[in-house]
């Protein structure tokens, strides 16, 4: 019996001896991950948890659902949710359609200007926030370059860039570079011969896109849509600068409740943040589910 134990011990010690350096390396490796994790916990995870908890706490520090009740009753907040969703849906839909065609055309271009075009689009994708709103005001404001030009030609009476129409235009504007950049490489997947094959077999161009083109790229198209949607829902600086904060959207409402001159309502701000975060997570999940379904359909 003792012998067996001895042997076991030796085996074990041997085992440990063999693996010690590996384990040590693993431990050291873990230490390298620590700063990353600390930063993520400090600046991403714990703020989110704190917001989540905060959304259930009223001004006296008691547990409550009042904040959620309030945001679903207040017309003003409901309007901001509706406005945010409206802007996001319209700009994503229109932006996606234009950038699909644009990315396809760009991908099919044969000349060498492609690279510089991509460079410009890349740069435009970072042209956002307050400078973008300024450029829009200068172009389309009541004394804007374009407004005057079109007025002089006689096409329009005037254009109100500070309105919903102006916002929709600006949102579509900042969605386009993003969509183009994300969708451009996806069209590489389409083999030009596939279309010929479909045509030979009697299918029209429409059939090709419906049965082959779109399904092949579906994952990326949905992913792009998701990013565009999140981008529009989270837009803040340009909306604020263009409308001076008068257009009621979720991001502006949230920030006005935590740092506004009028009201300090951290509970309501938290509940709205959780709602906004929830909407985006919901969209991510729908995206994944749809992807799985479609994938099953086409790959079986």
């Amino acid at each position: 019996m003792e012998n067996i134990l001895e042997v076991e011990k030796i085996k074990r010690s041997k085992k440990i001896n063999i693996t010690t350096p590996q384990i040590e390396e693993h431990h050291k490796g873990f230490l390298i991950l620590l700063p990353f994790m600390i930063l993520m916990i400090m600046f991403l995870i714990s703020p989110f948890i704190s917001t989540f908890i905060g959304s259930f706490i009223n001004e006296y520090g008691e547990f409550t659902l009042e904040n959620y009740e309030y945001i679903f009753q207040s017309r003003f907040i409901k309007q901001s949710i509706f406005n945010s969703l409206e802007l996001a849906f319209i700009s994503t839909f229109v932006g996606l359609l234009i950038s699909l065609q644009g990315a396809y055309s760009l991908n099919r271009l044969k000349n060498s200007s492609k690279k510089s075009i991509l460079l410009f689009i890349n740069m435009l994708s970072n042209f956002s926030g307050i400078p973008l709103a300024f450029a829009f005001i200068i172009l389309l404001g009541s004394n804007g370059v374009m407004t005057i030009l079109l007025k002089n030609i006689g096409l329009i009476d005037g254009f109100d860039v500070y309105s919903k129409t102006g916002l929709i235009l600006m949102y579509i504007y900042f969605q386009l570079p993003l969509g183009l950049l994300l969708l451009y490489p996806v069209f590489d997947r389409l083999n030009p011969q596939w279309q010929e094959m479909v045509n030979i077999m009697g299918g029209s161009t429409f059939t090709f896109w419906k049965r082959v083109g779109i399904p092949v790229m579906l994952k990326e198209i949905l992913g792009t849509m998701l990013i565009m949607f999140a981008n529009a829902m989270g837009a803040y600086a340009c909306t604020l600068a263009l409308t001076n904060g008068t257009y009621n959207v979720m991001t502006i409402r949230i920030t006005s409740y935590i740092a506004g001159e009028v009201a300090y309502e951290p509970g309501i701000a938290s509940a709205m943040s959780i709602l906004l975060g929830g909407i985006l997570i919901f969209v991510v999940i729908i995206n994944e589910v749809m992807l799985k379904k479609k994938r099953g359909k086409y790959e079986k």
Partner: protein
């Protein structure tokens, strides 16, 4: 024939995208432009005014400084972390991928609420200081820099490279510094430059977390809404755009060189 149609479509989209910038450019170069088809005169005085303005130069300096510091920390922390995760901890790698999605999907307005609540009182009084920006920029830049590092690492045969280095007597750490870092540095600098231009345009977080004390370029442009002429602000927008142009072009040429090697 088909190619021509595509050319027209691309041209139309690009022209539309450049219209606001073009309009702003012409406006910034004109002396006066109201109710006429073309500007009444051309001048460079708005640009001279900008470059004489200390507030603006300060803002550019501050923007550059905070972006550089943040990026420095991001590279310092993220490069070894992604390497370690890819080489040793497959599970953590998956977790990092999920974080990319989360960082991308959660807008600044959401995280700001929690950040203000957590860090405006002791023991972590960070709101109002620039330290907090380094932290939030880390989260903001993470998806982009992670992708950049990951793509470069995936291009290498990591396991074989490290194992051969080990067999030849080099420690894994040495292999990391002598083999991995030089190999990914070019790809990394491209993604860093692009991230830089993204951080450069950040407004919400600076505005909410630090406030008017720390004027970055976007904060400065926001602060001159009233009291300055439209020509002056359009010259500002164009200058801002020129900075973006330089950064992106640099990134592209570096990427090109990288591909050619």
């Amino acid at each position: 024939m088909k190619n021509k149609v595509h050319m027209w479509i691309v041209t139309a989209i690009l022209t539309t995208l450049f219209l606001p910038i073009l309009g702003t450019l012409v406006y910034s170069l004109s002396t006066k432009w109201t109710n006429t088809l073309l500007p009444q005169g051309l001048t460079l005085k708005w640009y001279l005014e900008i470059f004489k303005n200390e507030m603006f130069l300060n803002a550019v300096g501050k923007s550059f400084w905070i972006c550089l510091v943040s990026l420095f920390f991001i590279a310092l922390i993220l490069v070894p972390a992604v390497f370690v995760a890819t080489y040793y901890f497959k599970k953590i790698e998956k977790f990092m991928e999920i974080l990319v999605l989360v960082c991308f999907a959660v807008p600044g307005a959401v995280s700001v609420v929690g950040l203000i609540k957590l860090y405006s009182s002791e023991p972590f009084r960070l709101v109002g200081t620039t330290y907090i920006l380094v932290g939030v920029y880390f989260v903001l830049a993470y998806p982009f820099v992670y992708r950049g590092i990951k793509n470069s690492l995936d291009g290498l045969n990591l396991k074989e490279l490290i194992e051969s280095a080990n067999i030849l007597g080099a420690s894994t750490r040495m292999a990391f510094f002598k083999i991995i870092v030089p190999n990914i540095s070019k790809g990394l600098s491209v993604s860093m430059l692009l991230t830089f231009s993204m951080l450069f345009g950040e407004f919400l977080l600076v505005n909410m977390l630090v406030g008017g004390k720390f004027q970055t370029v976007q904060m400065y442009i926001n602060s001159i809404k009233s009291g300055y002429s439209g020509h002056y602000s359009s010259a500002l927008v164009i200058t801002y755009f020129a900075i973006l142009l330089i950064l992106t072009t640099l990134a592209f040429y570096m990427g090109e060189k990288n591909n050619r090697r």
